[in-house]
């Protein structure tokens, strides 16, 4: 481990001014990734800004049509929240499958977003919820759509002087959401692939649909072709072959440590089919 300067701000305003002042600084939210990377010298920042105590960033609240989740809300906070449960159950489905009890108690949704892993489990649900990210710096706030936020594995458009303050999305209380992931073991495993689907279904017909894929591209991928295929159709009328063709157009998986390109292609299709089958049952 390389030594670093530890800075703990009193409030969000202080944090923003420190970020502006200091160069080569990393923000500590939950630390479940960052501290491991620092220990292994994969990251060697001069300064560490510990925002874990900024309780103003750890709130989940109703905001008229929106639900707003503070960036320091832990995965367990989200699992425990009735507000999320009633308005964005799909996000809870993802959070409950993350890591282990220790990681869910420590890891934050903001950290999961900023880490920008294409395999992050909260991201496909946040894409289907059409989330917006509120970024704050000393010069003010700006709001970015989550689909415009990521640039590649580990890369996003956040500026070095900005902090992710919160995530907000419209309430989706009548929507049916499904998140499915595959991993190499039942806990403490990063997804090989994941699929989130959020739907409004009327009499067996899909009126609205949003699909997002994790770990099958450099960032989270939106299922454009798959959505186009299923929209306004009776679920029972869609063939396996059609789904497979559409899904394969939507995704661009590679072979890596966790799985193979071939397997990811085949199984992503199967997970989409399973989600549609679940919709039929509903």
């Amino acid at each position: 481990m390389k030594k670093f300067k530890y800075i703990r701000p009193n409030n969000l305003k202080d944090a923003c001014s420190i970020l502006k002042r200091e160069n080569d600084i990393k923000i500590l939210a939950g630390g479940t990734d960052l501290l491991v990377q620092i220990k292994d010298r994969m990251k060697t920042p001069e300064n560490l800004l510990d925002i874990t105590y900024l309780s103003e960033l750890r709130v989940i609240r109703n905001n008229s049509n929106y639900l707003e989740i503070g960036a320091l809300s832990t995965h367990q906070d989200i699992i425990d929240s009735d507000l999320v449960s009633n308005n964005a159950g799909i996000l809870q489905q993802a959070c409950i499958q993350i890591g282990s009890p220790q990681i869910r108690n420590r890891g934050t949704i903001g950290g999961n977003i900023i880490n920008a892993s294409p395999a992050a489990d909260t991201l496909p649900p946040l894409f289907t919820l059409e989330s917006e990210l509120i970024l704050i710096s000393e010069s003010g706030e700006r709001t970015v759509k989550i689909k415009d936020f990521f640039q590649g594995p580990g890369r996003s458009i956040i500026e070095p002087n900005e902090i992710l303050k919160s995530i907000r999305f419209k309430k989706h209380s009548n929507w049916l959401g499904h998140f499915k992931k595959l991993a190499s073991r039942k806990a403490l495993a990063i997804s090989k692939l994941s699929v989130a689907g959020l739907f409004l279904v009327n009499n067996g017909t899909i009126d609205q649909a949003r699909i997002a894929f994790g770990a099958v591209g450099p960032t989270i991928l939106i299922g454009k072709d798959t959505v186009a295929l299923i929209l306004n159709k009776k679920i029972s009328s869609i063939s396996e072959k059609e789904i497979s063709d559409a899904v394969i157009k939507d995704i661009s998986p590679i072979s890596d440590l966790r799985s193979t390109q071939e397997y990811r292609k085949a199984i992503t299709t199967i997970l989409v089919q399973r989600i549609l089958q679940n919709l039929m049952k509903a």
Binding site: K2, R41, L182, R185, K186, A187, T260, Y263, I267, I270
Partner: protein, 755 residues
């Protein structure tokens, strides 16, 4: 018997649970320094220049040491002496140590490592078994043709056996690396003493190996090298030979700088540069009569040894002896090869060369059963070893063969009769199936163990009736110290609460060989009995003098003194007190030499081990036929290791080993790119978590061994070895998909399904 077969609480349970146990990284010595290692960046190269200048200028660096600085011989002594502690001129695998950097703190030492500049010429290298066999690069190791070792078995006439067979078939199998994944990484502290001797503390299985290693490296005689074993957080074979290297890294700077030096590996370094289970490529042919009698076996198998031979010759030999499985067969032809590659040297791992061949052999039996239209149980019933049979190496078994019992107990344990349904009758997305494997395992070092096949013990009874026992084989988590306390108490007639098992110290006990090969209970157990008997002689004499009863009529049990079943008014402590007053010698040295074995290298026949343990594993799985995901629902392991000394701990050993075997079979996978492991951490090298653990049912099958201490045999390794094929055979039974490669990852199962 009062303490044999009793599940007393582990004597180290409290210290492990409340955290008071001291592991090597918890120790500190005054003015101690810290070592880190500079390593080879590619699989093979010639060192042109090593520029230490920038690192040496760093504040806090106390010294940087290379091959030329080693005061003794630059070797790691194992079987051959082909491995240097520090690469000189050439290096032969990525991660091989080149320099030791020592500093006031570990972060400075690490910084120093990053400042070393190596100028090298990369040499052509070999990374796979196939390339090594084909000699794509010739002469990469100390032996001709890139082959470290070749052993064979020539029994009967295998060609004739295949001709007379009604069915015969050949298959190829592959098995991968396995990482030990002990919780405590490798670590040692070397402390130089004023009188030019050295004491080395650390985490290890084999203190006497470390003693020899440090003696070679420092040039000190064995008498001046003292090794003290510290609480060891798991080993599984990974701390058999490797700690000699770690001790070398600490000892070289310690003797040169005359300061204590701590060398503790970090996890990535530990996974990337220390020994693993050998990957294997196995060609297996078997022939049967219509009735299912095994008539001929031909096996050719290759282990990837890595860059140096380390323990490979012995691992390979054990693989050879067990390759034909626990079956009686008259015609056997086996060739076993260990080939060199420019990868990390492989070595000991629970099962020691047998899980690879058991996977092949037991899959072969499963395929045969289907071809013969017999149930896998019936096919085994026909062929398994029973008392009076002869093993594959022509060892006539005259006692303690519990395989048949274990076969039926394991089958019943998984409800085989109701659950074994052919795969063709299964439908739906999630399909269940059951599988079985049987195995035998030679206890102890066997015929190739040479002078190592002995163990010592030292017992001292104090005036208050408390007892100290010093032994030469180590507690590494398996529970041997509790077993030793039980054996001592049983033999002396005191309570285990009065027995203290001392930390192993090479100055206290004679070289007792390594703590490996499931040998501790039999070897050290018998040495303890030998020592205890000498003291018991005086205790009985003393009890007789005190009570006026004849010696033959007196029994000492759990601190009580009895005659004809009646407790006398005197106690164990009274007897001890009396013996002290009479100046009787209540201190003794025990010694045990392993029962005899035999071996002929030309035929590969002989009594390879003095006794064998036997296991049947059954598994029930549920496979998602669309995704290839396997959920193991039930694992049953019926094990004959003779008389269990502590049944509860034995069950714990079985449960842990079975899960480690499950990881080996379906989960654990080391990936390498250009000869470098790219997943050297527990977030990327995945072993089962508690969430993945199925219901495990351990069954103890007790077929006593007359020469074992209270009829015990050995257990440590057996639980792991046959789990993988029980699971892959269950996968076949569920889905009709035959897996010939482990780990059986979902990706492989789906690929296999398409073929």
């Amino acid at each position: 018997m009062s303490f044999i077969g009793k599940s007393i609480q582990r004597i180290d349970a409290v210290s492990k649970v409340n955290g008071s146990a001291k592991f090597i990284d918890d120790y500190y010595f005054d003015s101690m320094l810290y070592a880190r290692i500079f390593r080879a960046p590619v699989p093979r190269g010639r060192i042109k220049n090593l520029d230490l200048s920038a690192a040496e200028k760093l504040a806090g660096i106390k010294g940087i040491f290379t091959a030329k600085d080693i005061p003794g011989a630059n070797i790691v002594p194992v079987v051959e002496k082909d491995q240097p502690l520090l690469a000189d001129e050439v290096f032969n695998f990525a991660g091989e140590a080149i320099a030791i950097v020592v500093a006031d703190d570990p972060d400075i030492a690490e910084e120093g490592v990053s400042l070393i500049k190596l100028d090298y010429e990369e040499l052509p290298s070999i990374l796979t078994i196939e390339d090594s066999i084909n000699k794509t690069v010739p002469d990469i190791c100390s032996k001709p043709d890139n082959i470290f070792s070749h052993y064979k078995i020539r029994k009967g006439d295998f060609e004739k056996g295949f001709k007379s067979s009604d069915i015969s078939f050949e298959e190829e199998y592959k098995t991968g690396y396995q990482e030990h994944a002990y919780l405590e990484t490798q670590g040692m502290i070397a402390v130089p003493n004023p009188e030019k001797t050295i004491t080395v503390y650390g985490s290890m299985q084999c203190p006497f190996y470390v003693q020899e290693g440090v003696s070679e490296i420092t040039g000190y005689p064995l008498s001046d090298v003292r090794i003290i074993h510290t609480t060891t957080g798991g080993a599984f074979g990974g701390k058999e030979d490797v700690p000699s290297i770690i001790a070398g890294f600490a000892s070289v700077p310690a003797v040169i700088l005359n300061k204590p030096v701590k060398m503790v590996f970090d996890r990535a370094e530990d996974i990337m540069t220390t020994s693993k289970r050998h990957p294997a490529w196995i060609k297996f042919k078997t022939g049967f009569s219509k009735a299912g009698k095994l008539l001929a076996i031909k096996v050719e198998f290759y282990f990837n040894a890595g860059a140096y031979s380390t323990l490979t010759p012995i691992v390979l030999w054990r693989g050879l002896v067990h390759a034909m499985g626990p079956y009686a067969c008259d015609n056997i032809h086996i060739d076993a090869y260990a080939v060199a590659t420019n990868t990390v040297p492989c070595g000991a791992f629970r099962g020691f060369g047998t899980p690879q061949v058991i996977f092949a052999c037991e899959t072969q039996m499963d395929i045969a059963a289907e071809k013969l239209n017999l149930s896998p149980i019936d096919l085994r019933q026909i062929n398994i070893l029973k008392v009076g049979d002869s093993t594959g190496t022509s060892h006539d078994l005259d006692e303690s063969v519990g395989l048949e019992k274990s076969l039926h107990l394991a089958a019943d344990g998984i409800d085989w009769k109701n659950k074994f349904i052919p795969p063709s009758e299964k439908t739906g997305r999630k399909r269940r199936g059951v599988g079985i494997s049987t195995l035998f395992y030679g206890v102890g070092l066997g015929a190739k163990g040479g002078m190592l096949r002995r163990a010592g013990a030292f017992i001292q009874v104090y005036r208050d009736g408390s007892v100290n026992v010093a032994v030469g084989t180590t507690e590494m988590g398996q529970g041997s110290n509790t077993v030793f306390a039980q054996l001592t108490a049983e033999a002396l007639g005191c309570s285990p609460d009065n027995v203290t098992i001392l930390p192993i110290d090479t100055s206290r006990v004679p070289d007792s060989g390594p703590t490996v090969a499931s040998r501790s209970t039999v070897m050290t157990g018998n040495a303890i009995r030998n020592a205890a008997d000498q003291i018991k002689h005086y205790l009985l004499l003393g009890a007789s003098e005190l009570s006026g009863k004849p010696e033959e009529a007196i029994e000492l049990i759990d601190g009580r003194v009895l005659t004809a079943g009646n407790e006398l008014k005197i106690s164990f402590i009274d007897v001890v007190e009396h013996c002290f007053n009479q100046r009787y010698h209540l201190t003794s040295q025990g010694w045990f030499k392993a029962p005899s074995t035999s071996w002929d290298d030309d035929t590969g026949l002989g009594n390879a081990y003095f006794i064998y343990s036997f296991v049947t594993n059954t598994a029930e799985v549920e496979v998602d036929i669309e995704t290839g995901e396997v959920e193991v629902l039930n694992l049953v392991s019926a094990e004959d290791f003779g008389q269990p000394i502590n049944p509860k701990m034995a069950e714990g050993q079985i449960e842990g080993g079975v899960i480690q075997g499950m990881g080996y079979g379906i989960m654990e996978n080391l990936y390498s790119e250009k000869g470098i492991f790219i997943n050297p951490g527990f977030s990327t090298y995945l072993i089962p978590t508690t969430m993945d653990v199925p219901l495990v049912k351990p069954i103890i099958v007790n077929e006593g061994y007359s020469k074992g201490p209270y009829k015990a045999k050995g257990l440590g390794e057996c639980p792991l070895m046959g789990v993988a094929p029980a699971i892959t055979n269950a996968i076949y039974n569920a889905t009709g998909i035959r897996v010939r490669e482990i780990p059986a990852l979902p990706e492989l199962i789906i690929k296999q399904k398409k073929e």
